[in-house]
Amino acid sequence: MRDILWLLKKYNYILVFILLEILAFVLINNHNRYQHSVLVNFNREIAGRLYSRVEGSREYLSLRKNNEVLVLENAELRNRIEELTNLLSDSTVIAAFEADSMALAGTDSTYLFIPARIVHSTYHKQFNYITIDKGRKDGLAADMAVISDEGIVGIILESSAHFSTIIPVINRDFHLSAKVKRNDFTGILQWEGRDHLVADLNEIPYHAEIKVGDTIVTSGYSAIFPEGQFVGTIKEYSLKEGNFYEIKVNLGTDFQRLYYVDVVKNFRQEEQRELESNLN
């Protein structure tokens, strides 16, 4: 009897027991097809969950790098789209022209998209500015448009060698020609200085048919933004004195959570400017 109690205290007892049970389960796993398949499935499930956990945290640690890769890819794809649309329109139009007139046109694409990372920005002031990490050395200059995946961002105000300052939509000095996508009525996009998610679209005439949720895009009149860039959607509208609507626009870009942007370089901007200035 004393023997029995004594061995209970022995650690070895449990160790040997566990060892023998492990041995038994190894035998079960190796020699019983059904139990083996269950164990394999169980193992796969556990391992799968563990790996996805590890992968998840690893992904999180490399998010910044991944983002940069995606931004580059995005810009690359935009360039491709631009090239292709140009090719498409050119090939139908230019078919009538001589081949050498194509060479005169210079570059194939009108627009080039250059990815950039925001290094500083404000969104709660009346006159907000954004600083990005690309400058003159990257081919950036004043009056270039800046967009993001979610919508337009702003216009470059000034560029130094490695950085540029953007005047975003949410700056009271910002003005942009924008239109209702559905019926092409054009107005002026401004920001009234309160909510960084909402801007004003003015000078849409009263006879224009609009409704809440309509998409607002850039008009392309200014030679800064390409035509048809997403701005936002109509949040609400009312009739102002005179014959114009007062439209509130939900901006597509959330400036509070903006990290990466694309700068739009318009190769034909100067050409257009020159032509327009000749008129004056």
Binding site: M1, R2, D3, I4, L5, L7, L8, K10, N12, Y13, V16, F17, L20, E21, L23, A24, F25, V26, L27, I28, N29, N30, H31, N32, Y34, Q35, V38
Partner: protein
């Protein structure tokens, strides 16, 4: 002492042969059969060294597995049963402990004591055995029912055997 070891080794072979040659062919109600061989573990002397209890359990289960082509399943159950035996013995110990020169049998400690001791250990063995056999918990209660019914049958055969073949 030597005689004791010899008797236990002999009993080992008898229960294994009895199990695989005779009782494995007995099917009660379609899927119940008595696992009489665990009698060997129940009857091991009180003084058996702890490691020998575990190893005996392992070898016993392995022997049965080799014959029934279920390698490891009976082994896991018998090792568990052998492991639990000291705890159960301790639980059922008389007030002044087990007497020297006695064995865990009806002859020495009575039917009531032996039945309790046998039912608990047999149940433990069968739980491990049956749940490893089905290897999932979907049919938890139908498996549990089989465990309980088999425990009753196995314990009955074990108790009956105490009055006939393994009296001393």
């Amino acid at each position: 002492m030597l005689r004791l070891v010899g008797r236990n080794i002999l009993r080992f072979f008898i229960v294994v042969l009895l199990q695989v040659l005779l009782l494995d062919n007995v099917m009660l109600g379609g899927y119940l059969n008595p696992y009489f061989y665990i009698l060997f573990i129940l009857l091991m002397p009180f003084e058996t060294p702890w490691w020998l209890q575990l190893v005996s359990g392992f070898l016993l289960g392995l022997s049965i597995d080799l014959f029934t082509n279920t390698l490891g399943i009976h082994t896991a159950a018998t090792v568990f049963m052998a492991f639990m035996r000291p705890y159960v013995l301790n639980f059922f110990a008389p007030r002044d402990g087990y007497e020297p020169d006695t064995y865990p049998r009806i002859h020495y400690y009575g039917l009531r004591w032996f039945a309790g001791y046998a039912v608990i250990l047999t149940f433990m063995h069968h739980v491990v055995l049956f749940y490893i056999e089905v290897f999932h918990f979907h049919d938890f209660f139908s498996t549990l029912l089989r465990v309980i019914l088999s425990t009753i049958i196995t314990t009955s055969t074990v108790i009956v055997s105490q009055y006939f073949i393994f009296r001393k």
